[in-house]
């Protein structure tokens, strides 16, 4: 979300989901939406049925790509080149919204000069997408009355994730496709409450409500609220903390996250956790991560816990307990509060989730006008700055939170690792519709297990033959970090030379292979691409 925060001042979906019905051109990039956000994808299908043009940029023939009016099958990790060339065409064809650029942006001249050499032909040589198709896409988006962009992890999970996002942002700023219904730049958040975890302040750089910890005014505000000294210095990201485990970080509290399976370079991750002096895990199951802990605390789960989730369109909604948790499992807020009290803290005397949420609202400008009562209906999109405010379905109307929208000037770089003789094949990872992350949930339900009972690596049928593999047989997949054995499924979704797998199954920990690098700004791992070797096993 850092890419958007820097250029627009707010790192979240600009438009609500209901707006997906409204654009006349929809540009989806790096999002396997029919699998990762299925119900949102149905809205795109409806928009298309009403005549909207759907452009999909994705290395693979994903279902969304098969539905697209124009599919741009770019080589993995070359988004910046593709998007730079689209900006080039928009400028060249006179499709820039001059009034918008003059009134609401800065740095246009610099961008214009920057993209001058990014011709579609140049981009074709890098991305493998025909120059004419790049032009068609740019012209369609550039001419749209209402053009909307949607993206997910395929854009952010790269060492150049921020560059990717800022390249997209440039298209938006050039064409003025923002601040109106049916337009915008829309990162679709993956987990049910990943937006909420950030909103609630579980970030090393921000207090609740995205208030920077480095601002002395915020420091003073939270010292007043909490009655203790708080630090002005940013914390480490999780990625850095794992890297420094055993050197700088010696104790960790990990909540509901199967780090060992879900994180890149799983072996490294396991070693990091093992090198801690103290590990406490709060979770629902004895996950691979919990097995490494010194103390495991059982949490109540969805269906057993009252609380709030904020969805990808910035809409806080109530979740409710329908049954009692098993045995002695308790809500996480209770567990953490008990721990804090034992550590001598005051201000953790909560008796309900409502009290915790109302405290959050009182300290967060984005939730200022919300309360436990008010989110029961789920009718507001944040920011809701004060009581009585109707909420903000569309961001960036009239002005950006940072004032003017900033044109950044990212340049194409190769992924952290590129294919070579030893590792000649691109592995790309993603999600499957029926499963979710590490399957601690979906794997214990009959339906998803029936549909996708085991992990496979999808290999183009022609490559199956060329590489001496066999459909349904095992293959050994190796990267510079490790290897896994996984069953081959012949499938022409991916192009030749690129194979695909998900990270859902811990018996085939595909993330042993990935993790070749991190975005320098966000520390987001390069999970989407990784050179591998594949051979019969």
């Amino acid at each position: 979300m850092a890419g958007l925060a820097a250029t627009l001042g707010r790192g979240a979906m600009s438009n609500p989901l209901e707006d997906m019905d409204k654009p006349d051109v929809i540009f989806c990039i790096g999002t396997n939406m029919t699998e990762a956000h299925p119900v949102a994808a149905t809205r795109l299908k409806k928009a298309q049925a009403r005549g909207a043009t759907l452009i999909v940029a994705d290395p693979r023939q994903i279902p969304l790509a098969r539905r697209a009016d124009l599919h741009l099958p770019l080589r993995v990790g070359t988004d910046v080149a593709l998007l730079g060339a689209m900006a080039h065409v928009i400028v060249r064809e006179g499709l820039v919204d001059e009034a918008f650029v003059a009134e609401r942006t800065e740095g246009f001249e610099r961008l214009r000069d920057h993209v001058a050499s990014f011709t579609p032909e140049w981009a074709e040589s890098i991305t493998g997408v025909a120059a004419a198709d790049i032009e068609r896409a740019a012209i369609a988006y550039g001419r749209a009355e209402r053009g909307a962009i949607y993206y997910t992890l395929g854009i952010t999970e790269h060492i150049c994730g921020v560059d990717n996002v800022q390249s997209l942002c440039n298209l938006v700023l050039l064409t003025g496709n923002i601040g109106r219904p049916g337009t915008g730049i829309n990162p679709m958040r993956g987990q049910n409450n990943i937006q909420g975890a950030g909103d609630a302040g579980a970030l090393p750089n921000n207090y609740p409500g995205f208030q920077p910890v480095t601002d002395p005014n915020n420091q003073a505000k939270f010292e007043r609220a909490w009655g203790v000294r708080v630090d002005l210095e940013k914390g480490m990201t999780k990625v850095r903390a794992l890297e420094r485990a055993g050197e700088k970080i010696f104790a960790m509290l990990i909540c509901g996250e199967n780090t060992v399976v879900s994180d890149p370079d799983a072996d490294h991750c396991r070693r990091a956790l093992e090198s801690l002096e103290h590990l406490v895990v709060i979770d629902l199951f004895l996950t691979e991560t919990a097995e490494l802990a010194d103390v495991v605390l059982p949490a109540s789960s969805w269906g057993e816990t009252d609380g709030v989730f904020t969805n990808t369109e910035r809409r806080p909604q109530r979740v409710r307990a329908a049954i009692a948790p098993p045995g002695e499992a308790r809500p996480e807020w209770w567990i953490v509060s008990q721990l804090a009290r034992r550590l001598g803290a005051e201000g953790f005397e909560y008796e309900s989730a409502a009290e915790v949420f109302d405290e959050l609202c009182s300290l967060s400008p984005t939730y200022g006008g919300l309360s436990w009562e008010l989110v029961a209906e789920g009718r507001h999109h944040w920011p809701v700055p004060e009581a009585g405010h109707p909420g903000t379905p569309v961001l960036h109307i009239g002005e950006f939170p940072r004032g003017r929208g900033l044109f950044a000037t990212p340049s194409f770089r190769d992924p952290a690792e590129v294919t070579d003789e030893e590792y000649p094949v691109w592995l790309t990872t993603g999600r499957r519709l029926a499963h979710y992350h590490t399957r601690t949930m979906s794997g214990r339900s009959a339906g998803p297990e029936f549909l996708v009972p085991e992990e496979v690596v999808e290999v183009h049928p022609a490559d199956v033959t060329a590489w001496g593999l066999a459909d349904g047989e095992n293959a050994l997949l190796s990267s510079r970090r490790g290897s896994v054995v996984v069953r081959v499924a012949a499938d022409d979704t991916s192009p030749r030379g690129t194979v695909f797998s998900s990270f859902s199954f811990s018996d085939v920990p595909v993330n042993v292979l990935t993790g070749s690098g991190y975005d320098p700004v966000t520390d987001t791992a390069e999970l989407k691409v990784c050179p591998v070797r594949i051979e019969p096993a």
């Binding site: 409450n193 999780k238 996250e257 609380g307 979740v319 987001t524």
Partner: protein
Amino acid sequence: MTSPAEHRLLLDGESVSFREGETLFELARRHGDAVPSLCFDDRLEPLGACRLCVVEVEGQARPVASCTTQAADGMVVRTMTEALERHRKALCDLVVSENPAGATIDPLRGSASQELAALAVRYEADGGRFAGARSGASRTDDPNPMILRDYDHCISCYRCVRVCSEQQGDDAITVGGRGFATRITTEFEGPLADSACTFCGQCVQTCPTGALADRRALRHADAPGELAATRSVCPYCGVGCSLDILTKGERIVGVQPAFDGPANEGALCVKGQFAWEWVQHPDRLATPLVREDGELVEASWDEALDRAADGFREAARAHGREAVYAVASGRAPHESAYTIQKLVRTCFQSNHVDNCSRA
């Protein structure tokens, strides 16, 4: 915006206003909800197939299907005449006759599964007159564990086919055959798993007879306890679909979509709809665990919390307050993330907290 001239017509003797484009069915529903229908779902294009929603319009020789007739200025409409109700009862008898005699439709089958049963009660339909006729060829042999295809109950309203096409956009099922041989089928007539079906469950939830039914939920049909619904939000992806958690006592027995859910308007996907059994899986942790001689063993909350706190205190004492780190979950509610960051920031005066940032 200029306010449009008000449109009015006479509905059952009462002058009522209507909106441009409103159908007689929608209008009647706004004024009392007494006109029955089996093929209507307000998210779908009206079909006019079941003929239950017929009304009399003055000047028209025959009753018209109200769901496909738009309101017009000055119309005189009657919705509840004796003749109409007689016609509806006859239709109801016919439809009920096509259903297995004496079958009770468990509400766990789906959100709309009681619609036919409710009409049968209203019209005291016994079905005897047409007994023997059947539409649909049942596919209860479909091996998928999610959707029961019990077409003996099918009344050919095509809501499933229409929802799959118009709402879900998957076009996995179609109408095959004619007359009494009409049936709902997949391409190549095979099981759903071999079709374009994504197991979103939308066809199940719109079926007015329970012919399409939720197999996961039906396993609990005989479980004791009153069926209750608790409004919540799906625990999987960031779309945030609203749903009802169905329970009997302390057991979750199913999930149904919320038709007024702001993010989903009645839709769910395979995960939200069918993947909830993990909640009460025997693998769930039910007691705190602490490590003793290398093994995790059960402990009381006091013991476990003391151990957890001691470890953090000890790490901070030995290596400084910056030695402690916390990771919040992107799945747990806000209150979890909020208390975790507050703990780090107040107990250790650092900002060493993050969430699983993988979007």
